[in-house]
């Protein structure tokens, strides 16, 4: 199904509820009434192409719009990734932590197992927070500055002074895998832990973990296959531009 800008926003959400994630992460308020996608985007100053590329991908998974996203303005991607981070840190991860805490109170959990799981997950939260802070404090501002310098909103000298040695490769050096431990947790709960009786609760925990894992996969795909190539492209453009002068 081809999603187009004249489609009603409410119809789009009905078509596939997954796109709500995009709506939320671009901070578009609900109450769409009869407005079309382009109306809503215009009202909230959202780049409609970027919005369409993402929702089209959410709706047709095997068609990742890599090139279009790379061609687009990096600020939109950074904004999207930033709000995704907030969503993980403020909502999804604390929820999972609470659910694991609840496991501890179940009488038929084997000794220590819930505590172990909780410690494992808390260690993960620490790593996760560090990873995200690094992106938020260093990588994202760097990419935005690259874009601003190329568009003439920041002069080259200021940029060079600020980022004497930093390149996107520096980021890659300590770009750790965020999904790995989520999938490990899923394996431990699903395959290696005796099943507790409170199935409803346990199943819900597994569902939340799998949702986070899948979401992180998307997140990594956007970072590794759009953000990093985009940054490399801009670095190249900047270097070529400055040698030509």
């Amino acid at each position: 199904m081809r999603i187009h800008a004249d489609m009603k926003m409410a119809d789009l959400v009905h078509l596939n509820f997954e796109v709500l994630a995009v709506v939320q992460r671009l901070q578009i308020p609900f109450g769409f009434k009869d407005k079309t996608i382009s109306d809503v985007c215009r009202e909230h100053n959202i780049n409609v192409d970027f919005f369409l590329q993402l929702v089209q991908w959410f709706n047709e998974r095997e068609n990742f719009p890599q090139e279009q996203l790379i061609q687009g303005d990096a600020q939109w991607l950074v904004r999207y990734l930033h709000h995704t981070h907030q969503c993980y840190l403020n909502y999804q991860i604390p929820r999972i932590e609470k659910e694991i805490e609840f496991l501890e109170q179940l009488p038929d959990m084997p000794d220590h197992s819930a505590r172990l799981m909780l410690e494992f997950f808390r260690e993960y939260i620490r790593e996760f927070t560090e990873h995200i802070e690094d992106e938020e404090n260093t990588t994202f501002p760097y990419i935005l500055a690259l874009g601003n310098t190329l568009s003439g909103n920041m002069d080259l000298e200021t940029f060079r002074k600020r980022y004497k040695t930093y390149t996107i490769d520096k980021y890659l050096e300590h770009h750790s895998d965020l999904e790995e431990k989520v999938f490990d947790l899923q394996s431990i709960l699903l395959r290696h832990l005796p099943p507790p009786s409170s199935n409803c609760h346990f199943t819900n925990l597994l569902l939340e973990i799998s949702r986070l894992g899948n979401d992180l996969k998307d997140h990594t795909l956007l970072e590794e296959n759009v953000l990093i190539p985009k940054a490399r492209q801009m670095e190249l453009e900047l270097n070529q531009g400055s040698t030509n002068q």
Binding site: E62, N63, F64, Q66, E67, I70, P110, H112, S113, L116, M117, F120, E123, Y124, D177, E180, K181, F183, D184, L185, S187, I188, R191, H192, L193, T220, E224, N225, V226, I228, P229
Partner: protein
Amino acid sequence: MVSVLLAEQSYLLRKGLIHILRQFPEVGEIEILGSQLGIGEVLQHFEPDLLIVNSAITAASPDKKWDSLLPEGCRLLHIINTGLPQGAPENQLSIYDSKVALTDKISKALKTISADKAQEESEELTPREKLILQHVALGKTNKEIAADLFISTHTVISHRKNITRKLDIKSVSGLTVYAILNGIINMEDIS
């Protein structure tokens, strides 16, 4: 399950190949890339058993840096944008190949992969692997384990790969949790 990474620019070709791949029940996850951008990262991350890549994409990164990133045991099929001469290698798929020819070539590749996998596939940890896991869970490095057990680091790495595959746990802290849950180490052993 065989995981496949398909790196192909053409939407039509991708659709066609996915259609063929999906006919094989042993094919699990299929990841798609539309260009050479980021292929190194995806290879490292996704660790496919089979990489199907268009020759234009291989040509676009002539230094072939990502070639060394191919995970161990990963098979490679090339998509060639022209017809193929008689007796062309079995790992070349031409865009002019018939469905029968394509299915045949892909089926052969999948069979070798499945055979490789079946050989390593037994789910129980061996006593040796349990011993290695015990050391890993105690926080020892590959080098330390090698020295303790009088084996090469290469052997340690290969044991660790098997442990990870059997348990479906990659991180050291995940392995530690498993080791405690299964009495391979005690909670008190770790600080």
